[in-house]
């Protein structure tokens, strides 16, 4: 069988996006489904969404990246082009153990995108390149 979970996740995001656009709500069943697919991550990600922790940084050159403010106040830079988050949960759960699709930060970024509640922020090209290359603390 081919891998299914990414498709499930994608479909859920689409559903959330559609329903949220129509009703400005995420119904209970979708929340439960999120929880089922993403496990405990879902709750934490929703908390991040509630806190408006996701910012989309864009630079004049057109580059973009997500910044998610973690529960501890630390900023995590997540890429748009692939699933990556510098948080330990991503490294451990997703990369090492292959037990989750996403970490809470990336999930929060997806949810914020689906709901259209991502904060927007502009940064200079230099800042962006430093962020993406990881040469600076954000």
């Amino acid at each position: 069988m081919p891998s299914l979970l990414p498709a499930v996740a994608e479909q859920l995001f689409r559903d959330i996006q559609k329903i949220y656009q129509e009703t400005s709500q995420i119904p209970d069943d979708l929340l439960i489904a999120l929880k089922f697919v993403f496990g405990p991550c879902a709750l934490q990600a929703l908390d991040l969404v509630d806190q408006h922790s996701v910012t989309c940084l864009s630079s004049p050159s057109g580059r973009k990246a997500f910044q998610v403010m973690g529960g501890s106040g630390r900023l995590y830079t997540c890429f748009l082009s692939c699933h990556y988050c510098p948080c330990p949960a991503f490294a451990y759960t997703v990369l090492r153990r292959n037990e989750g699709l996403l970490c809470k930060h990336i999930l929060a970024a997806y949810l914020c995108q689906a709901m259209g509640v991502t904060q927007q922020e502009s940064v200079s090209d230099q800042q962006m390149s430093m962020l993406l290359s990881g040469t600076t603390a954000p």
């Binding site: 689409r14 559609k18 209970d28 489904a33 929703l46 106040g73 630390r74 948080c87 292959n98």
Partner: protein, 1007 residues
């Protein structure tokens, strides 16, 4: 921290820390692997729990915030021993990097820390017991560190790390496949878990440089465990536990445990933003969790549920293929047709195949329980969800928490292989470079728009809250499936059993609302306008569940009667209601006395079928602690067994055990009743194979809902519902002689006397003395009181017509609906309705209530003789001899001849005349009021002080005064009065004092 965590840890402990348990536990693994935990862990948990209580060691560690480094070093020591050149980068100790704060530095460390777990294995292979032992030792030296490390490190983002830890420790038992045991001898198979865990442990170990620094409080403990051999480990359990616990104890966190229900790691979550999504999910999750654990409990204890397939919403699936994907298991299944069903079995090779297939996702917990394997038959009970994905031919079933394996294809012998939930083929990690659609949308904003339009609602629910129909018959289901902010999204069909109104306690808000009150209310008498009242209805659904619905404020109290006629007894649809709170019998006995009066129901109630029961699990567990079986029709003719209750206990539900009177001599026929449920209990009697439905007690709780006027809408066809239990009029005699201490009763009675606390009826309590023909008629066989007192409390709303009737001096006939009889006293309070019974208005609340009034009362009414049993606020007659006069109370005063007020002012110009300040009129000949209280001795009551406040008429006869001239009171001679016989007097009993001696304060009244 949480007890949950502690439990989880014990589970880990149990296969390790308790010598006894280790032995048995491992044996079990060999024989019946899947039952690795439950019994043992419970046992060890008990032990653990016991010793947690009494160990003082905890304290030492509790405050050891500073000992982090020491602990860590302890962790590192063994690693040092084991470390070899052969480093496996896979086993980097990720777990200690969980703290987001210390992320950078720890990660650096990790790169240098690596372990070669296989190293230690060779010298264990020879002896099967060795791994246990060494695992134990490992745990003793490391495990505390292993689980604690992340926590110790963590100072901020607890959740993340705990989650990971949970995953890890969860893996200790279940992840036994872990990647690299290929070289392991087969005979070690049963012991896999321990090795796997060991591997885990070493995975955390880091090659610390400093061994000398290992003096930590836990070190002595671990050294006190000479675990060289299995025998050596046979120490007393309490010692084990003590030291283990000492090691496990961490400053911040109680031991971890296997989650009983899936992923409840969120339980420890701090506060979420109020009204936020996380909060909502958390709430949903809590409900789901309790539902799942309850369901599991039930499905384990009752295997018979497996046979019930043909219920709506239950998916019967045959597993074709299983694969592990992330932590979940994905099973490709086809709908299972029972053999011999007559249905055409779908040929797996045919083209129909894809359509009949579904993909089912099980989360780790469910998968661990279920262990799906090809050819297994699995039932999935609602609520589940189905998701259709673009480009996928078959639906994906999500939320499969209520799953049960009904047929296992694997024989017990290969259980050892299927035991491992991870035996399923693991799917390759998905490509991180392939992101999901939405992030792209961020890059190319417009691209996705067209696509979105075409997306249908992919997720559908079955049986879950989201999948409920708009129209619902069950209050419970509607309430449990409620959406946001406590509002019930569904329409519920109910029968309005009662309509009543309650006064609002204080009406500071009323002034705001007042302008909306129609002007017609101004015509009503003033008292009726004081305070606002809220319309309420007591409804019952066809399953027997009750709820009180608070509706709008009544602009006019008298409107109540309209609503009574409009709604009461009718089947109505409730919509747009919100749940205010749950009301329990203990907290509101009066409401439940009303509910009890409507019980048992007038007609058989519906049963929640099992399918619905299951769906109700998402929500209050208590409500669905029931399972009933429909009585079948042909059995109805068999007289039901008489069942004698043997015992009754309450766990998650009420369980009762009966013995049947038709049971043959021993062995007895015992009946374990399913459980108590609303609408009574259904007992499956095994002796006659019959089911009898006993009318059990009504539910112990109901809901308080709120809504608007539009929330109640009578459904089509204005006939009275068969479920409606109208108030049945009873005679007062019947009510008084009834054995029941507390009950509701409805009756028509004549008010022969009323006594108000304040001048305005309706403001304070009103005491009414009632009688009816049943009390007045000759009572040869069972004498009863002739009159009865009834208190109308302020919580009972009196309509203007009632107030009017009570204000008038004439005796009036009044209908009391759902009055409360409490400890022999009648009371009109919440939910009681008082209505004047008049000949001009034949349409009363209930026609049946008018019947007792067909007989007329004798004139004058007969009163009881004053006796020792006389209670306050009652009426009786008294004949006695005056033995004393209370001279302090003997006086007379002028009063207005028009209005009776004593607020008279002497006119300056004409001292003989007065001006009444109350009615603003000149009073030429004021009445003279006179008061006299005397002590009587009655032949019927000895040794009793009777003080009677006499009425003017009696005073004058006592004084032998024909009339009082003007306001001249002639005065009296006490000697003349003493010894005079008075009576029979109709008196009202004001006070009865029994201590130190019987003393009764009476007041003569005029009927």
């Amino acid at each position: 921290m949480s007890s949950r965590k502690r439990k989880k840890y014990t589970k880990d402990i149990q296969c390790v820390f308790f010598p006894d348990d280790v032995g048995t536990g491992v044996q079990k693994v060999g024989i019946e692997p899947s039952s690795l935990s439950s019994v043992c862990s419970a046992k060890s948990w008990e032990k653990c729990g016991d010793s947690f209580v009494d160990t003082p060691v905890i304290k030492n560690l509790k405050s050891s915030g500073r000992k982090l480094s020491a602990v860590r070093k302890l962790a590192q020591t063994p690693a040092l021993v084991q470390t070899s050149a052969n480093e496996d980068p896979v086993h980097i100790a990720w777990s200690s990097s969980d703290s987001e704060q210390s992320d950078n530095e720890t990660q650096e460390q990790h790169l240098s820390r690596s372990v070669q777990p296989q190293q230690q294995r060779p010298h264990k292979q020879g002896r099967p017991t060795a791994p246990i032992r060494s695992y134990t030792r490992e745990l003793h030296t490391h495990s505390a560190d292993k689980d604690d490390l992340p926590i110790i490190d963590t100072d901020s983002d607890l959740d993340q790390s705990e989650e990971d830890v949970e995953k890890d420790s969860g893996q200790q038992i279940s992840d036994c496949e872990s990647e690299s045991f290929d070289e392991k001898p087969k005979d070690l198979n049963p012991l896999k878990p321990t090795n796997a865990t060991e591997l885990e442990i070493s995975g955390y170990v880091s090659d610390g440089e400093n061994i000398g620094d290992t003096m930590t409080p836990s070190r002595p403990d671990s050294e006190s465990f000479p675990l060289q051999t299995g025998e050596g480990s046979r120490r007393s359990v309490s010692d084990w536990v003590r030291s283990a616990q000492a090691m496990l104890q961490t400053p911040q966190k109680a031991p971890d445990q296997q989650p009983k229900t899936p992923e409840d790691s969120a339980k420890k979550k701090r506060k979420f933003q109020s009204g936020g999504l996380a909060e909502r999910l958390n709430r949903l999750q809590c409900r789901q969790r309790s539902a799942i654990s309850f369901w599991r409990h039930q499905s384990i204890s009752d295997t018979s549920t497996a046979t019930t397939v043909d219920r709506p919403g239950v998916l019967a699936l045959e597993v074709l293929e299983v694969q592990k994907e992330c932590s979940m298991q994905l099973a490709r299944c086809e709908h299972h047709q029972p053999p011999g069903d007559g249905h055409q079995h779908i040929d797996p090779a045919s083209g129909e195949r894809a359509r009949a297939h579904v993909l089912v996702l099980f989360n780790r917990d469910t998968a661990a329980q279920l262990i799906p394997a090809p050819r297994d038959i699995i039932h999935i009970y609602p609520p589940w969800q189905s998701l259709s994905i673009e480009g996928f031919s078959c639906d994906i079933i999500l939320n499969t928490h209520f799953s049960q394996k009904v047929f296992s294809a694997s024989k017990p012998s290969d259980a050892s292989s299927s035991r491992n939930p991870l035996s399923a083929e693991r799917c390759a990690p998905y490509c991180l470079g392939k992101i999901f659609g939405l992030l792209e949308a961020c890059r190319t904003a417009s691209e996705n728009d067209a696509k979105q339009g075409a997306v249908p609602n992919a997720l559908c629910n079955f049986g879950g809250p989201g999948g409920l129909t708009k129209h619902c018959l069950s209050l419970l289901e509607a309430i449990e499936g409620l959406g946001q902010a406590g509002s019930v999204g569904q329409d519920v069909e109910v029968v309005v059993q009662r309509v009543f109104s309650v006064p609002l306690p204080d009406c500071s808000a009323v002034s705001v609302l007042k302008p909306r009150v129609p002007s017609r209310s101004s015509s009503a008498p003033p008292p009726a306008e004081k305070g606002n009242t809220r319309l309420c209805v007591l409804v019952q659904d066809s399953y027997g569940m009750f709820s009180v619905v608070q509706l709008h404020l009544l602009p006019h109290k008298d409107d109540l009667l309209q609503y009574c006629q409009k709604w009461q007894g009718k089947t109505c649809v409730l919509r747009d209601i919100k749940v205010v709170r749950r009301v329990t019998r203990e907290r509101s006995t009066r409401l439940f006395s009303l509910i009890d009066s409507l019980w048992p129901p007038a007609m058989p109630l519906r049963d929640h079928g099992n399918a619905q029961s299951t769906s109700n699990h998402v929500g209050s567990v208590e409500s669905e602690a029931f399972r009933t079986r429909q009585p079948s029709r042909q059995q109805a003719s068999v007289p039901p067994c008489r069942l004698l209750l043997l015992y009754r206990c309450r766990l998650s539900s009420v369980t009762m055990m009966f013995i049947c009177d038709k049971a043959p001599p021993p062995p007895f026929c015992l009946h374990t009743v399913d459980t108590e449920r609303r609408g009574g209990i259904t007992v499956k009697c095994s002796c006659l194979k019959q089911e009898s439905r006993a009318a059990g007690p009504a539910l112990s709780f109901c809901y308080l809902l709120s809504g608007q006027e539009s929330s109640v809408e009578p459904s089509e066809g204005q006939t009275v519902s068969t479920l409606y239990v109208p108030p049945t009029g009873r005679t007062l005699r019947d009510i008084l002689q009834s054995e029941r201490k507390t009950c509701r009763c409805s009756f028509v009675a004549t008010v022969i006397y009323k006594r108000m606390q304040s001048s305005d009826v309706g403001q304070g309590e009103v005491w009414l003395v009632l009688t009816d023909p049943s009390l007045q008629e000759e009572q040869p066989e069972r004498p009863c009181r002739r009159t009865v007192a009834l208190c109308v409390s302020t919580s009972c709303v009196l309509t203007s017509s009632v107030l009017e009737a009570l204000h008038s001096s004439a005796a009036c006939c009044v209908l009391f609906r759902d009055a409360i009889k409490e400890h022999g006293v009648l009371l009109c309070a919440e939910q009681s309705v008082v209505e004047v019974q008049s000949t001009t208005r034949p349409e009363s609340l209930s026609q049946s209530l008018t019947d007792p009034q067909a007989k007329t009362l004798p004139q004058p009414v007969i009163l009881d003789l004053l006796s020792l049993e006389t209670t306050p606020n009652s009426l009786c007659t008294l004949t006695g001899v005056i033995v004393g006069v209370d001279e302090n109370t003997a006086y007379s005063w002028p009063a207005c001849s028009h209005c009776g007020s004593d607020n008279l002012e002497k006119l300056a110009e004409r001292p003989q005349n007065f001006h009444c300040a109350s009615c603003k009129s000149a009073v030429d000949r004021p009445d003279t009021k006179i008061q006299l209280e005397v002590f009587l001795s009655s032949s019927s009551l000895n040794n009793c002080t009777l003080k009677v406040k006499l009425q003017k008429k009696t005073i004058m006869s006592v004084l032998n005064v024909a009339s009082l001239e003007f306001n001249e009171f002639p005065g009296y001679d006490v000697e003349n009065v003493l010894g005079k016989e008075v009576g029979p007097l109709a008196v009202y009993v004001r006070v009865v004092t029994r201590k130190p001696a019987l003393w009764i304060g009476l007041e003569e009244i005029c009927l």
